[in-house]
């Protein structure tokens, strides 16, 4: 009984997704309407940057790209809450242990999946269909469903029987930001609302409201607003930076004696272990007091790039071959690439240089959050400890390899 009604719902949604072209969806799934506070002064965006349908569907134009540097904030009225929530009262209640993780193959996503599995959740992972499927997720015991956020008609089927959606998806650096991060997210949130998802966890970026000039941050901020207006029970978690990212960026090059590239930016980032992020997320998810809140997770201390490199050098016991690129160069490159339509994606990717050149501190006082969640601050891993652990393990491994190679030398 229950399954049939849910299946019917999903097929209805799926078909409505397909019928979108004929306008049958207009009443079922609402679209965000975006209203400009100021009309863009610069030249309008070339229409080729959006696919036609997407442009029709979501009339946003990113004025941040306009050459003159005049920017205007995107404001919008969300009418997602006008959606009549589908009545699923007659069905079996969805088990609170069933969750959907979007972006499960990412740095954070995989830790969220692991944590969830370990805490006994039934985890479904939404991954894009790809030639090499994410086998490691299946190996851990998660269910993998194929769907693509940029194709909204694939989404509803994946939400059947789901209690909570955890959204850790971000577009890959090499693809245009808007398809996944805005259009895909809007479709996902609307689906979640329409299908009665009971909690939506969204990861955003710290300070995203203060840097509208960075496309990704602006999109995250708009998505936050969209979720808040949608009427879903949500938790928005703003993050600062992941320690895991530092390993590829600094630790590995230092060990391999390759040149390390750093900036002289004064920006400080309070890096956090993704495992801690995942842990705190689940604590927050189960905490009634945290619902409909905006939480910021930050590490215990904020670090500049130079400090991180120095720390890595100390722990690795060798000097790094540091190449310092001044932020000014980054900014200049960005300005340069922004002039040309075909390098705009590049410009977007370099957009953080704007953030870097302002001496923002990506950190937040965590005391209140700890108190709200009942977490001991001592349990949060610090960057020193994290890197130390990493280097001890790696150096040990390297030593083993060396010992082995010596043995083979004798053998031959």
């Amino acid at each position: 009984m229950a399954s049939t009604s849910l299946a019917a719902l999903s097929s209805q949604l799926a078909s409505s997704g397909r019928l979108r072209r004929r306008g049958a969806l207009s009443s079922a799934v609402a679209r965000p309407r975006l209203v400009f506070r100021h009309p863009p002064k610069g030249k309008p965006n070339p229409p080729s940057r959006f696919t036609r349908r997407a442009a029709r569907c979501l009339p946003i134009s990113y004025s941040a790209v306009s050459a003159g540097g005049s920017r205007c904030r995107l404001a919008f009225i969300c009418n997602a809450q006008a959606v009549p929530p589908t009545s699923i009262a007659q069905g079996t209640p969805v088990r609170p242990t069933s969750i959907l993780v979007v972006g499960a193959t990412g740095t954070l996503g995989r830790q969220v999946v692991r944590r969830a599995l370990d805490e006994g959740y039934d985890v479904r992972c939404l991954v894009r269909p790809r030639p090499a499927p994410a086998d490691f997720l299946r190996d851990w015991g998660a269910t993998v469903v194929n769907a693509d956020l940029s194709k909204p008609e694939t989404i509803p089927a994946t939400l059947v029987g789901i209690h909570t959606v955890i959204d850790c998806a971000t577009g890959r650096p090499e693809e245009p930001i808007r398809t996944v991060d805005w259009e895909g997210k809007v479709a996902l949130i609307q689906c979640a609302k329409a299908m009665g998802i009971q909690k939506y966890v969204f990861y955003s970026i710290h300070n995203c409201d203060k840097h509208p000039e960075v496309p990704l941050m602006e999109i995250k901020y708009c998505t936050e607003k969209f979720i808040q207006d949608s009427g879903l029970d949500y938790i928005i978690i703003r993050l600062c930076g992941f320690m895991q990212g530092l390993i590829g960026q600094y630790a590995v090059p230092i060990l391999e004696e390759k040149s390390v590239w750093g900036t002289d930016a004064p920006t400080r980032i309070a890096y956090m272990d993704t495992q801690d992020v995942a842990r705190l997320t689940f604590i927050a998810m189960r905490n009634e007091k945290a619902s409909k809140k905006l939480l910021t997770f930050a590490g215990p201390r904020a670090w500049t790039t130079q400090e991180v490199i120095t720390l890595c050098e100390r722990l690795a016991g060798q000097d790094a071959n540091v190449t310092t690129v001044p932020v000014a160069v980054l900014r200049f490159t960005r300005q340069l690439t922004r002039f040309f339509q075909w390098t705009n994606d590049v410009a977007d990717r370099l957009a953080f240089s704007e953030v870097l050149s302002s001496d923002t501190v990506f950190s937040a006082p965590m005391n209140e959050t700890y108190q709200l969640l009942g977490v001991d601050a001592k349990d949060i891993l610090s960057l020193e400890k994290y890197l130390q652990e990493y280097f001890t393990n790696i150096l040990k491994k390297l030593k083993d390899i060396k010992a082995q190679s010596k043995q083979t030398d004798i053998f031959f």
Partner: protein, 644 residues
């Protein structure tokens, strides 16, 4: 790129490289043309060899950056830059090759010259290189391949593309805050951070070498157990009953799946081969007695037997004895086996009046006609007793300290006996110490497990029993301490006794538990079937305890489907459980118990903490919220009694 490699090869030069780079760094980077110019002049002006290297590096890097900057409009510049780049690799290679050969001073001079020649056009340089290589008597083949790189435009393009991509990747990553998951990075992470790597939350040392059989892998607990094991990097085998694609799909891909029923010994045997641990979380689907008996009782029996068989098989391959098999102390199957057993009578009141009446005691220990060793008789005397004892003769090389306790298989009319172990020097019996433990038998045949830890010294001042020193085993019957309600009410007279002995074995000891059984605490079952369910579960538990395997029996309260790790847990022995527990918590206990020495040979009830104000003092609160690196299990279990 090649230049960077060069710097690395000559370690001493690297420092100066950075220095020179920084010194030139002040030049406004936007003027990349000038930067390039500076680069080329510096490389030409410096004569000394070391600085030459440094300049090389310097020239290469800004060139690449400049290429990035310029590649949109100034293609000619980029081409020039790459040409310069290409000019360098062969030169470097030639030099390194030469330096591998014992380079003389003459050659060093040559090299210096070569360094000065550097600003020469690319083609000229290549020619020169070719000449010098000939001088160095290099093999022609290497030369051909080198020229290939230079001349072949495809190779050249590919190479410069690689270099460009690498530099661009690093450059653009600089401008990103937290580098999102690039696939290359994800691969690097896999080794250390994920799946059994040293830095993930769930690491268990030695997990890779452990294969765990999960019986009932699709049950509510089993599902989570499998996932937890996979996360920790164990090898997992799963025994499932139904061969459904739906069921199979539920399990992770790399789980080894055996389809079969626990009631069938052959499938269990097949499933168990290759495993070093068993987690048994199968339960009967119905409360039909046959079903209960098959899964909860016979299943456990089959699994523990198959496990022992498997270990014996392995041991035979090594031409030794399995460390998990029991040691036979005495087997009563022929009249000869009674040799060495002595019967004695005695009294606790040796000097009182009653002891003078000899007629009060009569007993015999003999091999009966139906081939059973029977110890029977009566003790009417107050304070009198009768006992059989034997000096132990263990096989060579085995001592009792490698064993955990005794297992007796006996039958009879259900009296209680005292088992006494004597320790001390064999020659001087006056110094020997005695330790006793009580064993209660049932009417009919049963097997009794007597752990050495249950033996108490007769003289309270004596130290605890050391199994290594045991030399004599005694079984004593004494009528006075018969407890009411142990099956002897309907017997004619509690002073009569009959004990049929089958065998006495010693149970092996070990560090870790081998077999984890998820049983149930009994609350939450519908009342009219509770008896049957518990009976079957109990029979299964008993079978496991007697198997000689290290066991852990978990008896959870009513299971709840919710995420684990949220509430404190109560570990308790004795039927005092009132609360439920989440499946995930039970699974966590199972997985934690695998390598916990305190979990060996324990049975315990577990449930959520009772959150009322009163009543909690009945229990000992031992667990906290499970957290990262918080091993709650060991302290919780260490206070509980073993072998219950």
């Amino acid at each position: 790129m090649a230049a960077i490699v060069a710097v690395r090869a000559s370690g001493a030069a690297a420092v100066s490289t950075i220095a020179s780079f920084h010194s030139h760094h002040c030049a406004p980077p936007s003027h990349s043309r000038t930067a390039l110019a500076v680069a080329s002049t510096s490389s030409s002006s410096i004569g000394a060899r070391r600085y030459h290297h440094g300049a090389c590096c310097f020239a290469a890097k800004p060139t690449q950056v400049a290429t990035d900057l310029m590649d949109q409009d100034g293609t000619d510049l980029a081409a020039a830059a790459s040409a310069q780049e290409v000019a360098k690799p062969p030169r470097r290679k030639a030099r390194s090759r030469r330096s591998k050969k014992k380079s003389t001073t003459a050659k060093l001079e040559e090299e210096d010259e070569e360094g000065k020649d550097k600003q020469a056009a690319a083609a000229a340089a290549a020619e020169e290189e070719a000449k010098k290589k000939k001088e160095a008597e290099e093999s022609g083949r290497a030369l051909a391949s080198l020229e290939d790189v230079i001349v072949n435009p495809v190779g050249l393009g590919r190479r410069s593309r690689q270099v460009f991509d690498e530099v661009w990747r690093k450059f653009s990553r600089l401008a990103q805050m937290s580098s999102a998951s690039s696939t290359a990075l994800a691969e690097e992470e896999q080794a250390v951070l994920i799946r059994g790597g040293p830095m993930c939350d769930f690491t268990v040392p030695g997990a890779q070498d452990t294969t765990v059989l999960v019986v009932g892998a699709t049950s509510r607990i089993g599902r989570i157990v499998v996932r937890k094991l996979m996360l920790r990097g164990y090898n997992v085998k799963a025994l499932v009953r139904r061969d459904d694609p739906e069921v199979i799909d539920m399990l992770p891909r790399s789980v080894d799946i055996v389809v079969g029923d626990v009631g069938d010994p052959s499938t269990v045997k097949e499933a168990i081969s290759g495993c070093s641990k068993i987690i048994y979380c199968a339960t009967a689907r119905s409360t039909i007695t046959g079903d209960l008996n098959r899964v909860d009782n016979q299943g456990v029996r089959n699994a523990s037997k198959a496990f022992q068989d498997y270990y014996n098989e392995l041991a035979q391959l090594r031409a030794g004895k399995s460390s998990k098999s029991k040691l036979l102390i005495a087997k009563f199957k022929s009249a000869k086996s009674l040799n060495g057993w002595e019967m004695r009578q005695g009294s606790y009141f040796p000097n009182t009046f009653s002891s003078s009446f000899d007629e009060g005691v009569d007993a015999s220990f003999e091999f009966s006609e139906d081939r059973q060793a029977v110890f029977l008789g009566f003790v009417f005397t107050r304070g009198g007793y009768v006992e059989i004892s034997k000096r132990l003769s263990l096989p060579l090389g085995s001592t009792l300290d490698r064993y955990d306790g005794l297992l007796l298989s006996v039958g009879g009319n259900g009296r209680s006996y005292v088992v006494i172990l004597e320790t001390g020097p064999l020659a001087d019996t006056s110094q020997s110490k005695k330790y006793f433990a009580r064993m209660t038998t049932k009417v009919g045949f049963c097997r009794i497990r007597l752990p050495f830890s249950a033996f108490r010294p007769v003289n309270p001042q004596d130290p605890p029993l050391d199994p290594f020193l045991v030399h004599t085993l005694t079984i004593r019957f004494e009528p006075k301490k018969q407890r009411p309600g142990d099956g002897s009410q309907n017997a004619s007279d509690p002073r009569n006794f009959q004990l049929i002995l089958e065998y006495i074995k010693a149970l092996p000891t070990g560090q870790e538990t081998d077999f984890i059984l998820v049983s149930c605490a009994g609350s939450g079952i519908e009342p009219n079937r509770r008896e049957q369910v518990l009976k079957a579960k109990k029979a299964g538990e008993d079978a496991l305890r007697r198997s000689g395997l290290g066991y852990t029996i978990v008896r959870p309260g009513p299971l709840q489907e919710e995420p684990g790790g949220q509430r404190a847990l109560i570990f308790d022995q004795g039927n005092r459980i009132s609360q439920g527990i989440s499946c995930a918590d039970v699974a966590d206990i199972c997985v934690k118990a695998l390598h916990d020495s305190t979990a060996r040979n324990k049975s315990f009830d577990v449930c959520y903490e009772y959150v009322a104000d009163h009543g909690t003092e009945l229990y000992e609160l031992v667990a906290h919220l499970p957290d990262k690196a918080n091993n709650y299990l060991a302290p919780a279990l260490s206070v509980l009694e073993k072998n219950t």
